[in-house]
Symmetry: C2
Subunit: 345 residues, 2 copies
Amino acid sequence: MIVNITLPDKTTYDITIEQLNNIYFDTKVVVVTNPTVSGFHLDYLKNKLNAKELSIVTIPDGEQFKNMSTIDMILDHCFEHRLDRKSLLIAFGGGVIGDMTGFAASIYQRGISFVQIPTTLLSQVDASVGGKTGINNKYGKNLVGAFHQPKAVYIDPYFLSTLPKREFGAGVAEIIKMAVTFNKDFFLWLEQNDLTKEENIKIAIKKSVETKANVVIKDEKENGIRAALNYGHTFGHVIENETNYNTYLHGEAVGIGMIMANALAVKLELMNKDEEKRVKILLEKYDIPTSYKIKDIEDFYSHFFLDKKSLDNKIKFILPKSIGDCLITNEVKKEDVIEVLKGFN
Amino acid sequence: MIVNITLPDKTTYDITIEQLNNIYFDTKVVVVTNPTVSGFHLDYLKNKLNAKELSIVTIPDGEQFKNMSTIDMILDHCFEHRLDRKSLLIAFGGGVIGDMTGFAASIYQRGISFVQIPTTLLSQVDASVGGKTGINNKYGKNLVGAFHQPKAVYIDPYFLSTLPKREFGAGVAEIIKMAVTFNKDFFLWLEQNDLTKEENIKIAIKKSVETKANVVIKDEKENGIRAALNYGHTFGHVIENETNYNTYLHGEAVGIGMIMANALAVKLELMNKDEEKRVKILLEKYDIPTSYKIKDIEDFYSHFFLDKKSLDNKIKFILPKSIGDCLITNEVKKEDVIEVLKGFN
């Protein structure tokens, strides 16, 4: 299956969702990966990949290495291998690898091409569309970076065979997010099909990628509708922050955040109790956590204001309108939010 | 005088060439400058500039600080002052300040706007058009960076009043470069007018900016004709390298490089002796150096291949065709180049 993405500035690329075929590049190619992905899958990739000159740079695994020092490691490798402006980087790993490889490609000699070969479900459905690249620093996550679109994305479900069950669930949470906010038919389909079967996960990836692409095409630089992709994130970021990023995977925190956003949507009569329950059942089907105990409600509330999206002291909430549509609002009254947070106490 | 630039992707901005009027920005603004420019002109700028919140970051002066550590200094200042995606950086200085401020703006929260207020003649005619931003590293000059267009450029000839005479000449060399390669009428005008007069330098800046803009619009990412802006640079880079970047200003090395390129053009019968002489006379009118003693001709020749533009072991020469037109070629025979270099021995 192929999904073609064409952005308003005419940038165009294909997302291919199937087992990797032989790929040939008539340029120098550097594969950026980490020891975990490399251990499982590098031989598999090398067998499929032909390039004028191929080299590998292995960077340390983990969000804590998503910084400028690691970007320098990648760039140094490129300079030492004398990559020119026609050369290519391949991101081979999860979201962290994709974000960093894209950013390195965007600044090497003022920008060269890169290709995404995402190996986690989350990066397959999420990080491979949108063009956001970047790194963290002491001030926060993804605060330095660039918009840089890939030249191509290859999604091979085979890589999911070695993915831990929790990481699979975190990816499914993003898929459910896409359905709840934008696509009711897709939600109905998700209720009826088991994503652990390969033929189904391919369809779900395709539908998620198409849904996200439609949003990104309308709003590449996130001035409007693209913010809806952050459904579950307003609450999720606070949960990640409160638990020092070491308790939940990002997709899991977003899952809990969706439950909280739904409770607020029910309170504001945007969603009914039955719809709220159906989302919860779907999340729990894949063992995605749906409960969280807030220690201090006022403290939790104050954390919303640390988010870079909460400008002018207003909190931006993405709230589902029934299932398949959503409302972006920064006009929710504090008392309503507090009332909802009390349900998680 | 205003020159409007509109790029193929619809990005558009104005270059205003006149004494600064009051400028008002309804956002947070950070001015990036260095101690030299700040000492002469910061009060003048502050008097003209109004912003929602204004702060200054002063970075060390000199090409040797054009690196990632200085970019981090700028970014840290922006984070500490909590700049958001609507905030603005102002580059207030020469080409180094412009290149670094533009690069910092391009990666801060995946890209914010920046404004150029260039204070040297070279940056007024050259660095303020083209969108090239970046830094040096141990592998070479401008090897890491981005294409990022300014939101506006303000060129105030008043700043030239404190510019050392050699730096003024280096800027004039770039103006002459533009005329020789692209615009015969402009060259004739330059022969007849004294650029040390303010009314003339304004016209010369305008014509240079327009000429460069026309080239950049046709070829933003330098796949073809934009390479012609490197007239004088193929030789100039070797001269800068041989003299460890501490003997000539960049514009001066380019001036000598133009003399060498012209000699090669005469040898290949693209230009006649009289035209060659007229370019030399014009350069010497502003005390731009036109002679250079090559120590070792084979060594000089081998240095051409270190240039990132000399792919596939071919040297790219930009050679004037008469005056007002030029040829981009990588087909010049080594013996012809050597023969010409012997004239500088």
